[in-house]
């Protein structure tokens, strides 16, 4: 908060008073009597469930609401003392930067340098000033090597940084970010959060960050604002937020805080360092980590890949995306496929589903249903029943619990229901009666999901897998059930559904073993509870609380 002291007396970076807003033709209001202030140089985390009004509030702060989206608005929004309701987003861009969830639609130029330079050019800045500003922001974000790259050759993380640079190049007093880490792997996500913290501390940029994965950014925040039904449910420091979330909305409690609350330890920690300090104060030690071992793969198998090489054409060159993958899946297994962006997770699933042909090695899979990253791509008709006609379609709807929605328009379904409908479309005709196919694969299914929707997805995965208990990995288990393999960056989600984790790195399997062993002992690919306790086999708050109670007793 030292930055606050330095800049005391300056106008708030953002001041919102009595803001209410409804999108055009919307049934309800997206924002209702919102009042909050963000001080210069403050780092504020915007928490809340899906559709609680976070994104709309950010759009109001950058002028897109109402100037771009239209609708009915009341109240007052001031950004660095500029009236945002009377001023358009273009003029506001000098005072506020905005970074949305999908980086692909946030770049409009062919090269990174041109993209960053564009706002300055629009403002009429001199060429020398533009050159210097581009250089400085590129250095600050560690992307000088990307300046001459074409934007359509960048990875998700690189694209997100380029868009952030374009938002920061005008040296705004406030930067607004809408779930910027949702498409990033844990490494890139953590890098982005700490980059924001550094910019916040060194440049004095106020940050308003909307995020679902609170465990990633709570420790970096000065303050938390929790949205509830379009209004502000909580506004205070992170420690108080944890107590509020514990009382009011369990879905907003990060894993380390859940661990402490289950173990009856006070105060609730706002991050890993905080939790470790509290535990050290209590005299609780950390046994050394044990190396993971490979899971044995007894027969039968529903998927078998042996020495799998896949080469993809990337325009001017081809790249070996998978390099000699060996992988076996058993019936009923729940597997998390993890790794950095570009490690080959999606390519492996797409190869299993027959979208890519291997250049060497082989992959054998009986029957597989793959749901790709954008469930909306599967929905092309205006009635659920038209997407899934006949008895096979009905059976698929039953298995995802959507048989009641047969006459609905897919666009009227919630995000979670649309995802289940897309899965039903992939399953239809691949089932044996009411039994799903041998393998169900989901590619990054939790993007933009809040915790309650993730819990629903975990339940669906368990149902698909036939609730077969493989935790002991003995060879006497049932051979029925569907193997569910999920490519995900979400470590906490993986810890909730998976019994096995396969970690890919640059196209090769770098770890393969029980979830409770793989998600412990690392830094990026480890749950928050595992990072706090570093106990073998302890990854979830429930396991952690049990371990702590055991040690305490």
């Amino acid at each position: 908060m030292s930055e606050l002291a330095i800049r005391r007396g300056a106008a708030p970076a953002l001041a919102v008073e009595g803001l209410g807003y409804a999108y055009p033709h919307a049934a309800g209001r997206a924002l209702e009597d919102v009042s909050l202030e963000v001080a210069p140089g403050e780092f504020v985390l915007l928490a809340g469930r899906s559709a609680s009004g976070k994104s709309t509030l950010l759009k109001a702060a950058c002028g897109l609401v109402p100037h771009f989206h239209g609708g009915e608005i009341e109240g007052e929004v001031r950004v660095a003392d500029i009236d945002a309701l009377a001023t358009g987003p273009g003029e506001l861009a000098a005072a506020v930067g905005y970074l949305a969830q999908d980086p692909e639609t946030q770049v409009v130029s062919t090269t990174v340098a041109a993209e960053i330079e564009l706002p300055l050019e629009m403002r009429g800045d001199a060429p020398t000033d533009r050159a210097r500003a581009v250089e400085e922001v590129a250095l600050a974000l560690a992307i000088p090597h990307l300046l001459d790259r074409a934007t359509d050759t960048l990875s998700g993380g690189e694209l997100q940084r380029a868009a952030l640079a374009a938002a920061l190049v005008t040296r705004p007093r406030l930067i607004l970010l809408d779930e910027p880490t949702s498409q990033l792997d844990p490494v890139a996500g953590d890098e982005l959060i700490w980059l924001l913290r550094r910019l916040n501390e060194e440049w004095g940029v106020a940050v308003l960050l909307a995020e679902h994965r609170l465990e990633r950014c709570l420790a970096a925040a000065d303050r938390v604002v929790a949205m509830e039904g379009g209004g502000v449910g909580f506004d205070g420091v992170p420690a108080d937020f944890l107590a509020w979330a514990h009382e009011h909305d369990h879905a907003l409690t990060p894993p380390a805080a859940r661990l402490f609350s289950l173990a009856d330890i006070d105060p609730l920690p706002i991050g890993v360092r905080d939790a470790k300090q509290t535990l050290r104060g209590m005299g609780i030690g950390h046994p050394p980590h044990q190396a993971s071992r490979r899971v044995p793969h007894p027969h039968p198998q529903v998927l078998q890949a042996k020495g799998l090489w896949v080469e993809l054409d990337q325009g001017e060159e081809t790249k070996d995306v998978l390099r000699g993958i060996d992988l076996q899946l058993r019936p009923g297994e729940r597997v998390a496929l993890m790794g950095r962006n570009g490690a080959g997770k999606s390519t492996l699933l797409r190869t299993a589903a027959g979208l890519h042909q291997p250049v060497a090695g082989k992959i054998a899979v009986g029957s597989i249903a793959l749901l790709t990253q954008n469930p909306g791509d599967y929905l092309v008709r205006e009635r659920v029943g038209d997407e899934l006609p006949g008895e096979q379609g009905m059976a698929a709807l039953r298995i995802v619990g959507l048989e009641h929605a047969i006459d609905a328009d897919p666009r009227d379904l919630s995000g979670g229901e649309r995802q289940r409908l897309a899965l039903a479309i992939a399953l239809a005709g691949r089932m044996e009666g009411e039994q799903p196919p041998g393998v169900v694969a989901l590619d990054e299914p939790t993007r933009g999901m809040d915790r309650s929707r993730k819990e629903d997805l975990v339940a669906l995965i368990e149902q698909l897998a036939g609730s077969v208990d493989f935790l002991s990995h003995s060879e006497t288990k049932s051979t029925r059930g569907t193997a569910v393999v999920v490519a995900t960056h979400d470590v906490e989600f993986a810890s909730e559904f998976a019994e096995r984790v396969v970690l890919l790195g640059d196209g090769v399997v770098i770890a393969d073993g029980p979830m409770a062993e793989i998600l412990v002992g690392g830094w990026y690919f480890a749950t928050e509870v595992a990072r706090v306790l570093d106990l073998p086999g302890v990854v979830t708050p429930e396991q952690g609380a049990a371990a702590l109670r055991g040690e305490g007793g």
């Binding site: 003029e91 905005y98 790709t372 954008n374 006609p389």
Partner: protein
């Protein structure tokens, strides 16, 4: 997957040149292709465009351009051979065809079709090189002061084309991944879905342009990279090619006749024009960096 025609930034002379210089240079080659019908000159124009693309590092674009151009050329040869029965040397008499009437395939008609095809090959390769080597942002920036609204539309379109191409690829994949029990997806629902998605994408891209200040009326500052040290070279080569082509045309270098019999002029003017046009393909050649002559002396000091 990226389109082979997509712009790739490189530190090569053609990419570093200003859009005006690059357009003048490649445009001169295309002008020759449209001015001439002599196959030797047309081959030279095609070779110049190919060489320029290869020297600029746009191998993928040249390959794709050649593939497209040669396919089109083959089509032109076949169509011309079937629809034109002029010429003295009949290769095959194919009798009476519906719509076409009597079809006699002559060598002259095939060669005439080949001449049209060569124009297509040279032009398509030149456009492919332009597409892969000239930064569309810089072209749009150059146009913006002249036609702001058109430049905005072109900016939106130029960004939406790769986004829509990626969306179409994803939709195709999703259609392939539908279970056999789900309703089959025809081209019409897919196209409708792509169009609806494109409109959403257009709104997102337009919002980004709005945030970047595209709607501002601020004075447009001069572009930092308006000129490059290679501009003079490309303008000079363009001028030489155009002057040579026009002079050659006046001196009879385009001496080529297909009907009733083939006559190809291969006199000195034709050979000179062909040689100069072909050599113009070397314009994007990068000169090796000059070693500083005083380097050792400075080191000794």
């Amino acid at each position: 997957m990226r389109s082979p025609f997509a712009y790739v930034p490189r530190r090569e002379p053609l990419q570093l040149a200003s859009p005006g210089a690059a357009v003048a240079y490649l445009g001169a080659i295309v002008t020759v292709a449209f001015l001439y019908s002599n196959p030797l000159v047309l081959v030279a124009a095609g070779a110049a465009a190919t060489l320029a693309g290869l020297l600029a590092g746009a191998r993928g674009a040249v390959r794709a351009g050649l593939r497209l151009g040669l396919s089109l050329a083959l089509l032109m040869v076949v169509v011309n051979a079937l629809v034109t029965s002029r010429g003295e040397t009949v290769l095959a008499r194919l009798g009476d065809w519906p719509l076409l009437g009597r079809v006699d395939v002559t060598i002259e008609a095939i060669v005439a079709g080949l001449s049209y095809g060569l124009v297509a090959v040279a032009s398509i390769v030149a456009f492919a090189v332009y597409s892969a080597c000239v930064d569309p942002d810089r072209v749009l920036r150059a146009l913006r002061p002249l036609a702001g609204r058109s430049a905005l539309t072109a900016t939106l379109v130029s960004r939406l084309v790769p986004v829509a191409a990626a969306d179409a690829g994803r939709l195709r994949d999703a259609a392939a991944l539908r279970g056999p029990g789900a309703a089959a997806v025809g081209k019409a629902p897919l196209a409708r879905r792509l169009l609806a998605g494109s409109l959403d994408r257009a709104v997102d891209v337009a919002a980004t342009l709005e945030l970047r200040g595209y709607s501002l009326d601020a004075p447009r500052a001069r572009n930092r990279r308006a000129r490059s040290r290679y501009d003079r070279r490309f303008y000079a080569v363009a001028a030489v090619v155009l002057v040579t082509a026009i002079a050659g045309k006046l001196l009879g270098a385009d001496d080529f006749q297909t009907y009733p019999s083939i006559e190809i002029g291969l006199g000195p003017p034709t050979l000179a024009v062909a040689a100069i046009v072909a050599l113009s393909g070397l314009a994007p050649l990068k000169r090796p960096a000059r070693r500083p002559a005083h380097r050792l002396e400075v080191a000794r000091v």
